[in-house]
Symmetry: D2
Amino acid sequence: MLDMTNDYAQNMAIFNRAGRQTVDELFAKHGITLEQIAKITVDLQQRFLPNISVEKVVPVINNMLNKDEVQDVIILGFTLDDLAERDLLPEPLLTKVRRDEGSFGIDELLVSGIYSLYGTISVTNFGYADRIKSGLIGEIDAKGKASFDVSTTFQDDIIGALATGACGYFAHNPQTLVE
Amino acid sequence: MLDMTNDYAQNMAIFNRAGRQTVDELFAKHGITLEQIAKITVDLQQRFLPNISVEKVVPVINNMLNKDEVQDVIILGFTLDDLAERDLLPEPLLTKVRRDEGSFGIDELLVSGIYSLYGTISVTNFGYADRIKSGLIGEIDAKGKASFDVSTTFQDDIIGALATGACGYFAHNPQTLVE
Amino acid sequence: MLDMTNDYAQNMAIFNRAGRQTVDELFAKHGITLEQIAKITVDLQQRFLPNISVEKVVPVINNMLNKDEVQDVIILGFTLDDLAERDLLPEPLLTKVRRDEGSFGIDELLVSGIYSLYGTISVTNFGYADRIKSGLIGEIDAKGKASFDVSTTFQDDIIGALATGACGYFAHNPQTLVE
Amino acid sequence: MLDMTNDYAQNMAIFNRAGRQTVDELFAKHGITLEQIAKITVDLQQRFLPNISVEKVVPVINNMLNKDEVQDVIILGFTLDDLAERDLLPEPLLTKVRRDEGSFGIDELLVSGIYSLYGTISVTNFGYADRIKSGLIGEIDAKGKASFDVSTTFQDDIIGALATGACGYFAHNPQTLVE
């Protein structure tokens, strides 16, 4: 357990630093870069916002990773994939996560906690990117499908939610692309 | 105003009959059939559920239209498109609805009240169908885009939400396709 | 219709200024002040965040009103109450809005577009404030209940969503109360 | 892993039986009965629906527990509380779950997957019941607060979501109380 104080604001700062550190470790371990996520955002938004670029999206993704709501979803999702790989979930949860079962909706539900922070238009982008398996989403999904020992059921949706949350951010704050 | 009683259950039955009648009138007026909506469901689910057919989906759509939560969303959505066509919404709502503005998310939010009744997996299907403008969704969207005097901003999302709600229903109740 | 340009960012700025102006006019017309909304936030969060005050909450509410997702929900909600008062909604929507019917959930759905921008913990505060009719929420609700000619079905939920969105903001950003 | 077939409908039946069995075991282990959950529903709805009774609510809760979306949320929630008690979650997730931290919103997000199946009006009941800690919700919450070795962070929200999902069911289907 983390060392807590009696001060709410101090505790939140402790959570936030620990959260960002765990997220950075998880991304490093799985070889995920902010540039890869930003690339999905660019691919999705380019036809609406011609000025968008990986360089402009990376700082937005970086800010998202500093939010504790976002950190919680990412850490929980990667943890669940990891527990599934180690057979540490009860049935039928284990089989559903390992198979990335089509009727299993906890992954979609959980990551809505990321993109909903950026408005309801993100729903459409998320659903679309998830289905066409845009860029890194598809690579991660393929890793999970290639071997039953690897579970990426939550990981691909997390990447998709970060990329489409950033789409929502730019759709509502397009002036940040001009400045 | 409708004639109400002092009995909650009786009032709900009155609302429900009135709601279904208004929905049927709106669909008739806009030339929308349950078969067209079911066709989208079939197109989206066919590769997962080979037994699916328009004949099997139509009764599910029909049952959806009997739910008062679904009726309320449909009636409100068509009303907003109609008010927009008659210039009866305040700005900037009027311009956003008439232009089906990309940053406007009330349509996505409103219709989540339909497909969320059928589980969180519907989010992905909805987003995908909305973006590729599957079948009738695309036809309705094109009508709205063809003329500034016609607004279909909410209509296409309503059709998409009904079709993908049915996807969620069958994904969770596949035995109804076998029986 | 508003005068639009060919530039997405410029159009968003036009929408945003028009949206804020309409919100300010609606609040002025209904005698709603940011201080009254902030008072609800203070009442709900005081026991968790002793430093909170109306003065510190008002700028947060003010920022919320500059977001176009928030403006759209507010303008649509007040418009629906107004249309209901003037008998301009189809049945059974008209009767449900005028009666603030318990089974009618479009108001809750619509305002989730406000507080969801500030994380999922806002759900609990919203539900609680809505049910105990905290401060201004109760005053507005009472106005609607006092006369069938006045509809405040959406208004009280909008006020509740703004107040509890601010709760979410401070729960996730408590350092802003210290600085 | 469960033994799977090549048939989607058969697999869903296998998941469903396994899911219900795990839910029943978890409830038995934690001494939770359907009657206790139904009691919360009755307390919340009594003033609107005078005919409601524990006997009439129990079968509705029972049906909810047969839905695989509901089973998945319950099993995951109890699993997370259990993993927290055994120090098997990464930081800061572990500390947040163990402390039932106020800023932690994954519990609220997860259980929205239960009550959202019964319409958007359930949001208000859920938030209210969660905050006043109605009946069993309060008992479970108190267990978690009494000892740092016991985590009930997800459990109380699950019970609240089941009870308020049933509220939504009866609000939309009041005739089932008369028949």
